[in-house]
Amino acid sequence: MSDIVQASALTRRFDPRLSLGDRIAAAFGARVETRPVRAVTDVSFAIRQGETLGLVGESGCGKSTLGRMVAGILPPSAGDLRIDGEPVMRHGRKTTTRIQTVFQDPFASLNPRRRIGATISEGPIAHRLIRRAEAPAFVADWLARVGLDPAVATRFPHQFSGGQRQRVAIARALAMRPDILVCDEPVASLDVSIQAQILNLFLDLREALGLTCLFISHDLSVVRHVSHRVAIMYLGRIVEIGPAAQVYAAPRHPYTQGLLDSVPKLRLDAEDVSFQPIAGELPSPLSPPSGCAFHPRCPRATDLCRAQRPELAPHPGEVAVACHHA
C-alpha cells in the first residue's frame, strides 16, 4: 500500500494578539514580549491508501490543530502537507477537494438557516461535480446512504436530533467524493446508543467508498475500534505511533501506558475494575517543560529526560516512540 497523505515537520504556532497598549509601546520602539503558543511542533507522519489513522490525546495536545492542518483549513507555520505528492495548500489556500472534514459539533457545523438539501448539494454544484438540475436526486441518494429519509431534504438543522445532524454532516462531507476524510471527534457529543449507530455508519461508508481517514478522538476505545494505526500526541508532538493492535497491547511510551491505564475498563470477569491515574497535570503549552515534555509526570524520568528531548525513533514492529527509556 502506498502513502496517500504525507505530513512532514508540520508546525503551527499561534501568536497572541497584542493589546492596544503593547502595540503603542511597540510603535515607540519598546520591546514587547510575546510568547507564541506552539500547538503543534514538528509532526511528521504518513497515511496509507485506505487506512484509518487514529489520533489520540488529551485537551490541548494539538490534535485538533493538526487535524485542521491536514484538512487544509489551517495553514501550517512550517512544514509541508501533501496528497499523492501534491501540496494541499498554496498561498494559504486549500487547493483540493480530495479532503473533507466531519466536525465534532453538528449543532455548530451546519448552517441553521439553510435547508439540509441545499447544504449537501452546495459544494458539489460549486465544484461542478453535479449540475444544479441533478441536485434533488443527488441529495436524496446521499440522505438514503446515511440512513435518513430522503423526504427530509427540505428541513432545517434544528428539526433534527444530534445523531441525525451528524449523519447530515457526514453526507455533506462525502458528497464531495473525497479520498480522505478528517473526522474531528465525530461522536464525542453523542449518547452511547447513538454513538454506536454513527460509528457503524462510518465503518460501512469507509468500506463502501474505500476512504482514507484521519480519526481524531480523546476516547481511546472509539479510536481502537476504528483505527488501523494510531498516533498518540502529547503537548504538540507525536510521542508514539504504530499499528493500533500493537500500541494498545504493548504501549512503549510511558504516557501511552499511563493513558491506557487511566481509563476504567469494563471487565466483566473481575469484581474490581482496575485503573491507575497518571500523576500530575498537563503542562501549559506556553511554557513547555525542558527536554521531554512528559518528564514531570513520568515515573521513569531521569536527568537525560530533563535535559534532552527524545526524537521519535523506530522500534520493532512498525512502531515509533519518542522516549529515552522505551
Partner: protein
C-alpha cells in the same frame, strides 16, 4: 441491617411546558444505605439529572415534584419548607455539578467561598474556617492548599477546579453527596485521579454517594450498585458486577453492546436502533418497546417488575439471568 439513609418512593418530577407535560422522572423508587456508592446511569433525557436535582430540592419551574416521597434519614423532603431544605442542603446533602466553572463564584477567592459555605451552617471564626478549608483542599489532592485559598477560580485548571468543588461539598461532612457527571468535562488522566480520590474519600468519611453518569465503565469502577434509567424510569437496578455481567433488561444489554470495547475492533457494533422517545409523547406500556428486539404485543401494557436475587427490572421479556 441499618436503617437506610435515603428512601425514594414513586418519585415523579414533571415539567409543565407549553407543549405539554414532560414526565422527566416518572415513578422512581430506590433505597440508599449509609456509605453506599450508587451509580445512576442513563442517556440524555433519561431523567438521571432531574432525579438528582429533585433529591436536593433544586428543581426549578416549570419543573415540579408532583408525587412520591423522598425520606432522608427518616425525614420527608417532598414538601419541606424552603428554609428547612436550605439548612439541610450543603450540610447533610451536598452536590457536585458537571461544570465547576459554573459552580464556583468567579469574583470570590476560593478561601472566601469555602468560609461562606461553612459559616452558612455553623458559627465558625474566619481563621478556623480557613484552616478547615485548607485541610479539605489537601485531602482532595490540591498541593500547597493554604496558599491557594487566596486564588480565584480562574487560577485553577479544570481538574483542580473540580477538586475545589468536591472539597466544598465535603466541607460540612455531609451524609450524602450527589455528583452529577462530575468527570465528564475532564480529560481521562484527570478523570482517573478524581475517581481514585472520590472512592477513597467516600470510604474514609463514610459518605454515601450518588454518582450520576452516562458512562458505564466509570460507574463500574466506582459504584456498589447501579440504577439504569430510561425515559424517566428505573428499568434495571442491582449490584454493579451482576447487572453488567448479565443484564435482565434489553436496554441495559443494548447499552453495553453499543460500547466499542465489547466488540472486536473494526467490526460493526451491535447498535440499538432508533432514538429515545420524546418525554412529551411516551408510547403506552414499556417506553423502550419501539427500539427493543424482544418487544411484542404484550409490551404495550405497563411492564411488570421482575425480581432476580438482588436485582430488579421492569420488563415483559427479561433476559436470562446467568449470574
Amino acid at each position: 441491617m441499618t436503617a437506610p439513609l435515603l428512601e425514594v418512593e414513586g418519585l415523579r418530577t414533571h415539567f409543565l411546558t407549553r407543549a405539554g407535560v414532560a414526565k422527566a422522572v416518572d415513578g422512581v423508587s430506590f433505597v440508599l444505605q449509609p456509605g453506599e456508592i450508587l451509580g445512576l446511569v442513563g442517556e440524555s433525557g433519561s431523567g438521571k439529572s432531574v432525579t438528582g436535582f429533585s433529591l436536593i430540592g433544586l428543581v426549578d419551574p416549570p419543573g415540579r415534584i408532583v408525587g412520591g416521597s423522598i425520606r432522608f434519614a427518616g425525614q420527608e423532603l417532598v414538601g419541606l419548607p424552603a428554609e428547612q431544605m436550605r439548612a439541610l442542603r450543603g450540610r447533610r446533602i451536598a452536590m457536585v455539578f458537571q461544570d465547576p466553572q459554573a459552580t464556583l463564584n468567579p469574583v470570590l477567592t476560593i478561601g472566601t467561598q469555602m468560609a461562606l459555605a461553612l459559616q452558612a451552617h455553623d458559627r465558625v471564626s474566619d481563621r478556623a474556617a480557613a484552616e478547615r478549608a485548607a485541610t479539605m483542599l489537601t485531602r482532595v489532592g490540591i498541593p500547597d492548599a493554604a496558599a491557594r485559598l487566596g486564588n480565584y477560580p480562574h487560577e485553577f485548571s479544570g481538574g483542580m477546579r473540580q477538586r475545589v468543588a468536591i472539597a466544598m461539598a465535603l466541607l460540612n461532612g455531609p451524609e450524602l453527596i450527589i455528583a452529577d457527571e462530575p468527570t465528564t468535562a475532564l480529560d481521562v488522566s484527570i478523570q482517573a485521579q478524581i475517581l481514585h480520590e472520590m472512592k477513597a474519600l467516600a470510604a474514609e468519611s463514610g459518605t454515601a454517594l450518588i454518582w450520576i453518569s452516562h458512562d458505564l465503565a466509570t460507574v463500574s469502577a466506582l459504584a456498589h450498585r447501579v440504577l439504569v434509567m430510561y425515559a424517566g424510569r428505573i428499568v434495571e437496578s442491582g449490584p454493579v458486577g451482576a447487572v453488567l455481567r448479565a443484564p435482565l433488561h434489553p436496554y441495559t444489554r443494548g447499552l453495553l453492546d453499543s460500547l466499542p470495547a465489547m466488540t472486536e475492533p473494526g467490526r460493526r457494533l451491535r447498535q440499538i436502533p432508533g432514538t429515545a422517545p420524546s418525554l412529551l409523547a411516551l408510547p403506552p406500556g414499556c417506553p423502550f418497546a419501539p427500539r427493543c428486539p424482544r418487544a411484542d404485543a404484550a409490551c404495550t401494557a405497563p411492564p411488570p417488575r421482575v425480581d432476580h436475587a438482588e436485582r430488579r427490572a421492569l420488563c415483559h421479556h427479561p433476559l436470562e439471568a446467568a449470574a
